[in-house]
Symmetry: C2
Subunit: 183 residues, 2 copies
Amino acid sequence: MRYPAEVTAARHGRILQEASRLFRERGLNGVSVPEIMKAAKLTHGPFYNHFASREALVTEVIDRVMGNLADQISSARNSKAARRQFLDAYLSAEHRDNPGDGCAIAALASDVARNPTAKVPFTRRLKHVLAAVSTKFSSDGKDDSRAEAIRLVAQIVGALILARAVDDSELSEEILEQTRAAL
Amino acid sequence: MRYPAEVTAARHGRILQEASRLFRERGLNGVSVPEIMKAAKLTHGPFYNHFASREALVTEVIDRVMGNLADQISSARNSKAARRQFLDAYLSAEHRDNPGDGCAIAALASDVARNPTAKVPFTRRLKHVLAAVSTKFSSDGKDDSRAEAIRLVAQIVGALILARAVDDSELSEEILEQTRAAL
DNA sequence: CACTAAGCATGACATTCATCATGCTACAAA
DNA sequence: TTTGTAGCATGATGAATGTCATGCTTAGTG
């Protein structure tokens, strides 16, 4: 049957939202179309009423989830306290244990590296993230704030990925703690 | 037919070697058993004469490839020059463009994070890597050399992953260059 | 020298996948 | 009010997957 426009829009948003979560949790190749549709409380059929292909969904999710990250940083206060708060949350056990609504870079960069199509929105949005970090979280507005932003992002992304890959909670905590202490 | 033990051992090694390369190139879930066997110049059948399951191969590959990395660092000279040389090679365009025989951590850590079985050998070997980095590549034998090793590894792994995920060769080179400059 | 069995190729198995086809219903546009 | 069609559920398609079964041949073992 046909549904009101708002209902359809809500379902579309739910597919995107569940896909964003599942992709971050299990990777771009770790979730099937039926699983995503089931999480969105629909059957598998109407997927292609909402997206041209699985790959189209992937690029849309990347764009959305990386855009959210950039917005989040952009709307932060420009202060040492805000920087500290962001880093402590980023390098927390809670963030480590909940990739599904965590940083898109840490969750998806490795998968993106193997997916040429996904690289396009990822690269575009990463530039926004770097610009936002550069203006918000660099130690004062120095001229090399962009270089510092790149190093900062690489550092915390690497630390989070390592902390997630490790089976030993002490080592995992140590990785997070040493990175927090270094910044 | 039956084959000489050395031939069988060579084939076993070839499966492991090709799997190590393919997993690093395409991810732990991006390669099928038939593909691996084909790369090893065998048909898919005898796979289960060599490994109990696909998962058993994955853990063996992780162990092997992470062990190689630890050995490589362990056998480096303990000098500033050796450290510089290692970092320049690690953060090079060549390493970025050839994940198949590159660092196992940068290539596989994200996949390992989603595979509880793979975490076991990964964690064990990562400890060896950190110990090796700590003794070889820390700025002199200071007491906090372990903390420095953790930060160094997170930094270069994060930078390499980012450089690989990006579609823009200028940005990719900038990520590598700024990280090289920072260390 | 006899004979067990290791390890190969071929092929089959049930699943799962991405995608497409169908038919129906009620919303939206005329 | 009439009518076209958006978007749903159900189900089918062919391809790919991990794993197992079979049979054959010869390297090792005793």
